[in-house]
Assembly symmetry: C2
Homo-oligomer: 369 residues x 2
């Protein structure tokens, strides 16, 4: 192999595939980045078998070929290269890979390229196209609600659904649930799959274009792939039956409270400072006619209390929640006001941005003495 | 106690004393911040017995008194308080401490103030005054050379010396030594003390005034204190005999090489990428008539080589050093060019900024096969 490319594009590509490089693995080849050159392109890929990422950049290819380099060292080296251009070539003398940029030269030992599990693209039989900003928003507004605990695998992923009604993502750890919907023009495909939260987070991080671009979603058996710009990400799916989330969302509420989002958020964050230790991670809300008082009580540290103005339709109510479950959703509400909807102190409540029916968060209260 | 102060000043003071709050300690009282109010001042202090920090701010004192609050919670709370002003008062009802700001109210349990080891200022019998920027520079340019290993305690501190010739700080781990000198006007005091590197680093971090201010240094028996603006830091000294550093610095050199500092630094950093693992943390320098070639060789990863132009007075020479010991000093050289001075491949070398006799770094080479 012998190629020349710009340092900027190479650095960008290495940063993208780096996230799929395995760190702890019994297979040394998975700690590498696979580089293959053909036509006028250099393709980089890495996989830890959970996630696989490919990224293609332009290159002047003098000799096509494929090599594997240590992901860790290659990444740090590329970041620090001095010149605008980089040449990567297999040395004829000692089978090392010679990387040169201005007066800097590295000779890296290569890993055996034939051992690398080259990613196979999914067939394009099943394909759905969605804008990157739509997909990113679906992920960011739900993925935090996934379970961290691996005991019940289906809750460690987000459910992606699409049909004639639009596209939706749902995540829950059984104590709270986040649902985000969006429109999808002219869609005749139906999909329903559970994608690991780790892959969703990585995908959201990579969806950073400043002008909306198309993301093609492919799926086949227990795999899903996302293709956008020069990037291709492939992941396994989580198998199992996701619960019917429509049954979890209460159909009606006795009480609806409207508050200013940022004011409410700041107050909840302050009060929850004294509720952070796992044993006492509870904050109480006392909803009155024109205000809500938020309190916490940590026997080892002290008490916190704060009152914010609110508007109520319904009945006064005292209710308690896990503080983290409340702050998690408040961080994701972008509108000026939010609506907190309740029935009784022991039945699920709902938090929504005001005037937005596409984002719903259901939260189960905590029973307090 | 009952006081009112600005959130800004309180936050600033908490951040300063926070660094002396003990985290792992068998004495719970040391995890607290001691607040005492008198006249029109609020004083905060914390100590872990290694270091003690006091900070004084203005306050409207309605009732004088002293309390101790959990350092961790008090700090996080103050940071998030909503208003411009904060009221702190002992509650008459339940002996908690009531902290209010706008509509937020915290009632924190207090720790027993009478158990707090209140810091006693050193007598002002021994005092030396130095500008904060001078002291900060002395510390920053030497403290990194201290030993991390506690086996020989004197090398875990920096030696501060002052006399009619000026002020100096020296640090060494026996493999490399950094010496920084500065002038001191009209000084008739002689001091020579070894200050723990952890305290020096903390002190350098706190010396951040934009216009130079005076730092008063007090010492008595095995303690030293630094006083500036509203801050007072007290530390134990390290006991023992610091070696005569003048004997470590070679009197003359056979070869002097001049290079551009930033170009040399970048090349050394790139080459040392492949020398980072502890077993092979060695880079080689081949000094020629008009260039220096820097190389590393890590049998598990590969080789790196880079050549930078230089100017030589003396003889060509090949020599090897611990890569970290070289990059550590290069990060601290601010001038455009530096001088690398050498005798033989096995005798100590010296790195200095060009045209600056106040900063000297001595480094012992590594014997290679």
């Amino acid at each position: 192999m012998k190629i020349t490319c710009t340092k900027e594009q190479l650095h960008h590509a290495v940063q993208i595939v780096q996230k799929a490089v395995a760190t702890k693995t019994p297979s040394p080849i998975l700690t590498g980045i696979y580089l293959s050159a053909e036509g006028n392109q250099l393709q980089l890929q890495a996989t830890d078998y959970e996630i696989g990422i490919k990224c293609t950049i332009e290159a002047q290819v003098d000799e096509p070929g494929a090599i594997v380099l240590s992901g860790r060292y290659f990444q740090e080296m590329v970041r620090r290269l001095p010149g605008d251009h980089v040449q990567i070539a297999t040395s004829q003398e000692d089978r090392t890979i010679k990387i040169t940029s201005n007066f800097a030269q590295f000779n890296l030992l290569s890993l055996p390229a034939e051992e690398f599990p080259v990613l196979k693209p999914l067939s394009d039989e099943n394909i759905l196209t969605v804008k990157d900003n739509v997909l990113k928003d679906l992920i960011k507004k739900t993925v935090f609600a996934c379970a961290a605990d691996e005991a019940r695998p289906i809750f460690t992923g987000g459910l992606l659904e699409a049909d004639a009604d639009g596209i939706r993502m749902v995540a829950t750890n059984t104590h709270r649930l986040a649902l985000k919907k969006d429109n999808l023009d002219n869609n005749d495909k139906t999909i329903r799959m559970i994608i690991p939260s780790k892959i969703l987070s990585e995908l959201a991080r990579l969806l950073t274009s400043e002008i909306p671009v198309d993301v093609n979603i492919y799926w086949h058996r227990n795999q899903v792939a996302f293709e956008f710009e020069h990037v291709y990400i492939i992941s396994r799916l989580i198998e199992g039956q996701f619960p019917d989330y429509n049954k979890v969302i209460p159909a009606s509420f006795a009480t609806n409270i409207t508050v200013k989002s940022s004011e409410f958020m700041d107050a909840v964050e302050r009060v929850s400072l004294l509720a952070r230790d796992s044993d006492y991670n509870v904050i109480k809300f006392s909803f009155k006619e024109d205000s809500v008082t938020i309190t916490s009580n940590n026997p080892d540290i002290g008490k916190a209390t704060e009152t914010v103005p609110s508007h109520m339709d319904g009945n006064e109510l005292d209710i308690a929640f896990n503080a983290k479950y409340v702050t998690d959703i408040l961080k994701n509400i972008n509108s000026d006001k939010l609506v907190f909807s309740l029935n009784t102190p022991l039945s699920p409540a709902c938090i929504k941005p005001m005037d937005d029916n596409n984002y719903t968060y259901v939260i189960t209260p905590v029973r307090t003495s």
